[in-house]
């Protein structure tokens, strides 16, 4: 009873919400700034974005506040201690995965096509930049034009997305004609195949440098300013992410977004409404893949080294888990899911592992290394997939239809206009 009335008061008053949120941000960012390394404080600070989502403000205010949090508050708070780069690394990785998960969400969530080899497109993006931003390309292009200067990075973001999109279409063309459930296994295979090919393409012509990978990838360069640290990449990631989120929101409620969902809900009815099945699915594949490819370019530049081990089945599954956990088809859900899983992977599991190791080193408890949490990804991801499929198939934040206001649709005029068919055909 008491709780309910408090909740109602909170829901009713925007100034109260704003006050509480501001206080929360001040406390957590202060904690992050002052303490040397506190994963918990950093997580809570990121959590303020989730709180923001649940406030009752208009979308414009929410986006503006999120922008301030992401561009000013978080980078500043993290800069306080020695863990600055570690925090920003996590935040940048989060952004990369959010963009990829949003890409996969187009394929799985909107169009209902299960792609289990999604990391392949990330790899295509990463190698597109990696090959030309190192001396590698000299092996198959005469002259010594390479590595390209870091200024080319900005063009490569688009190029990586484009290449990944092409691969998406190449894979989709044969496969999307057959029944849906084969798609899952074919994409699963494709993910492995791309890895095997990148792993072996050092002969007959050395294109990918095989298992050795590509190192010393050129850092991005903007009018002489070189991006080398995670806190610098963070801003690139946020920039691309903003574009991706913007595009996804636009697409979701467009003619194309509706055809994706229609194909997902009922292929036969969708066709009978004039929607071309294969082309619609291919667009989903290509657009989803291109998000992944763009972030692949950023990843390659940030790591300065890539090899095929970064692009395994576990990576593909990680992205799928993000989408399923957050809520298939739900943009805020997928953003949340991707952030949670990235943080789980990079922070929680590693922290737990080192804590347990410390305990067993001190002889308190004996945890065999087989059970170390950072090795348990498969188990954790598997369980999330099973449990969410059975108990919460809509994920943490369920996808909702956009409600439109009556005023915006109930304009003047009745159907059909008096002149009959001639009039409705115009």
């Amino acid at each position: 009873m008491e709780i309910n009335s408090t909740r109602e008061r909170l829901a009713g008053s925007k100034s109260l919400q704003a006050g509480l949120l501001a206080a929360f941000v001040v406390v957590t960012s202060g904690a992050v700034y002052l303490m040397d390394k506190s994963v918990l404080a950093f997580l809570l600070l990121l959590g303020s974005l989730l709180l923001l989502y649940y406030t009752g403000f208009s979308n414009g205010i929410k986006w503006a506040s999120a922008g301030i949090l992401l561009l000013l508050v978080i980078p500043f708070a993290a800069s306080g201690g020695s863990s600055h780069e570690a925090y920003m690394e996590v935040a940048a990785q989060c952004g990369i995965y959010v963009a990829m998960a949003l890409g996969l969400n187009i394929v799985v969530g909107f169009a209902g096509l299960l792609d289990m080899g999604f990391v392949a497109f990330f790899a295509v993006g990463a190698y597109t930049y990696g090959i030309f931003a190192t001396a590698q390309a000299n092996n198959f292009i005469p002259g010594s034009l390479f590595p390209l200067p870091g200024g080319s990075f900005w063009i490569f973001i688009l190029l990586g997305g484009f290449m990944a999109g092409i691969f998406g279409i190449l894979l989709g063309l044969p496969v999307l004609r057959v029944k849906g459930d084969y798609l899952a296994i074919v994409t699963l295979g494709f993910g492995e195949i791309i890895r095997i090919i990148f792993n072996n393409m050092e002969k007959p012509i050395n294109i990918t440098n095989g298992a050795m990978g590509l190192s010393s990838i050129q850092p991005p360069d903007l009018f002489g300013f070189k991006f080398t640290f995670p806190h610098q990449f963070y801003f690139i990631v946020i920039g691309i992410l903003a574009v991706v989120i913007f595009a996804v929101r636009r697409l979701e409620h467009s003619r194309l977004g509706r055809s994706w969902k229609a194909v997902r809900e009922n292929e036969i009815a969708a066709q009978s409404m004039g929607i071309p099945l294969i082309r619609t699915k291919l667009t989903a594949f290509a657009i989803g893949a291109s998000f992944s490819g763009m972030m692949g370019v950023v990843f390659a530049a940030k790591q300065t080294f890539i090899d095929p081990t970064s692009f395994t089945l576990v990576e593909s599954t990680t992205i799928l888990v993000m989408v399923v956990l957050g809520g298939m088809g739900s943009v805020p859900g997928v953003i949340l899911g991707a952030s949670l899983v990235t943080i789980l992977n990079l922070q929680v599991l590693t922290e737990l592992t080192s804590a347990l190791n410390a305990l067993s080193n001190n002889g308190y408890i004996g945890i065999p290394t087989a059970l170390s949490p950072s090795k348990m990804q498969r188990l954790i991801f598997g369980l999330i997939l099973i449990l969410f499929a059975i108990f919460r198939p809509n994920g943490l934040i369920r996808a909702r239809n956009r409600k439109v206001s009556l005023e915006s649709v109930a304009g003047s005029g009745v159907y059909p206009a008096p002149a009959g068919r001639a009039a409705i055909r115009k």
């Binding site: 799985v108 209902g112 299960l114 289990m116 044969p174 496969v175 004609r177 057959v178 029944k179 849906g180 459930d181 084969y182 899952a184 296994i185 074919v186 699963l188 295979g189 494709f190 492995e192 195949i193 095997i196 090919i197 792993n199 072996n200 002969k203 007959p204 036969i268 089945l313 599954t317 799928l320 399923v324 298939m328 065999p368 290394t369 087989a370 059970l371 090795k375 348990m376 990804q377 498969r378 188990l379 991801f381 598997g382 369980l383 999330i384 997939l385 099973i386 969410f388 499929a389 059975i390 198939p393």
Partner: protein, 327 residues
Amino acid sequence: MNDILHTLPQVLIDGLALGAIYAVVALGYTMVYGILELINFAHGEIFMTGAFVGTAVLLAAQGTGLAASLPPWLFYLLIMLIAMMFTGALGVGIERVAYRPLRKAPKLISLIAAFGVSFVLQDVVRFIAELRTGNYIVSSSSLYGERMSLPASSISSLFGDATVKTNTLIILGAALLLMVALDRFVNRSKWGVAMRAVAQDRETASLMSINVNKVIVLTFFIGSALGGATGVLFAQQYGTIDPYIGFILGMKAFTAAVLGGIGNIRGAMFGGFVIGILEMFASSNLGTLTGGSFGAEYKDVFAFSILIIVLIFKPEGLFGRAVKEKV
């Protein structure tokens, strides 16, 4: 060209052994798909679990000296039976826990759950293996590891001699036996008829007082037991196993099932042998055929290309059954 002919006898023998393994694993995919229209991603992991259970029993028995007191063939049979019971029960459990609650859910959701199950199994087996042996890659001794020579050169001087492990013959024999037994069971027995009825039309079958749940449980048991038995044969043949062998192997077995026409038991057997022999051929000859550009490391790519080609040109498989959706 001469090289290819020279190695052909060995390629054929190794291909048959591998193909037999694919064929029996493919049966599990095809049976479950026939009945539930679900790709049981976990089937590759059930095969892998069978390999581990068999190896564990073998190592345990050798440790206690029990193994020495039994004739090897009986011991082999016993290991296989234990692994089959274990994986059969595992398959039934998976169906009960993860698939049955989702029988009416969209296909996408069941596929996600199936995929989750396969990940969980990989890690659970890894835990146990790593806890017991300190390493998740496990080697086992072979009961019938001795080799004999097959003088193929006496047929034609173009051929080279091949060597055959005794275990290869066991694999072929066991696989054929299992496949014939399954074929007879499905086509002759009362339960087999029920199975085919449920595969045709679940609702009508239940109206004909067939207990659909029982049939599905039985299907999972048999399919998984076959997978487990193959796991034991595999471990005996190749000696080293790890928790991730089920993934690629399962995918190739699935390719075999698609090639033979998914839902079609005899087709799956045929598909298995075709894939096995093609893969062995590719892995020993790709290098020669492409002048050294592409080697055996592309054998998985090759198998995968077959899957794509079949899906493009003959999605219903070589002996497929017509699938039509009710509109």
